[in-house]
Amino acid sequence: MPVMPRRKRKQFYVRRKVCRFCVDAGLAIDYKDVNTLRQFVTERGKIIPRRISGNCARHQRRVTRAIKQARLLSLIAYIPAPPP
């Protein structure tokens, strides 16, 4: 958080993102679990960066790997078809 000026004008809060997989230990990362992986891919099929997804480094690596594995099996598209 940047140092705020004394005048209490533009106070904003940065909501700390936490890694979903760290919070919920029961949540597995698996290339077969397409619905979960979809949440970490943009509409254009790009993998959502850690900065935005809020995943920790370790889990982001696993998510990335799982997405790539799922792509190989054609469970997730590399380049999704444009919506009709």
Partner: protein, 141 residues
């Protein structure tokens, strides 16, 4: 022996009989190569996310088995030869397999009706799951 999971995708344009033949063939290959097939998970026909070899649909099957690296090598060699297989993917689930526990687990699964037999077998049958469970980092409020 190691525990593996192998998914293969059969061309979805083929008939059910042909798909069945392919599945049987690869199940047999696993067994013939010293593998022990734990289960075949049939995902059925799915729409592919993109076309592979002209096919828009694929029939997915996942084999859960215990075997050696040679088993996998031979299995994948056969995948590549058979052009009815349009995609395959194998991962290792565990480095060590307790064969006795696995057999007990399978026996318990095979005979759910006769569940009177081994109640402690199931407790012992917890497979050599990947030990690395994720330690959640301390969270500040």
């Amino acid at each position: 022996m190691r525990r593996y999971e192998s998914v293969w995708v059969v061309n979805g344009d083929l008939s059910d009989e042909e798909v069945k033949a392919v599945n049987d063939k690869f199940s047999r290959i696993i067994s013939a190569q010293g593998g022990m097939l734990v289960g075949l998970d049939d995902w059925g026909r799915r729409k592919l996310a993109y076309r592979i070899k002209g096919a828009a649909r694929g029939y997915y099957v996942m084999a859960d088995f215990a075997g050696t690296p040679e088993t996998v090598k031979e299995l994948e060699r056969n995948y590549r030869i058979d052009d009815r297989i349009i995609r395959y993917f194998t991962t290792k689930k565990a480095d060590r397999v307790d064969l006795e526990a696995l057999k007990a687990e399978m026996a318990a699964k095979a005979a759910p009706a006769a569940e009177a037999a081994p109640p402690e077998a199931q407790a012992a049958a917890v497979p050599a799951a990947p030990a690395e469970e994720v330690p959640s980092p301390a969270q500040e409020e």
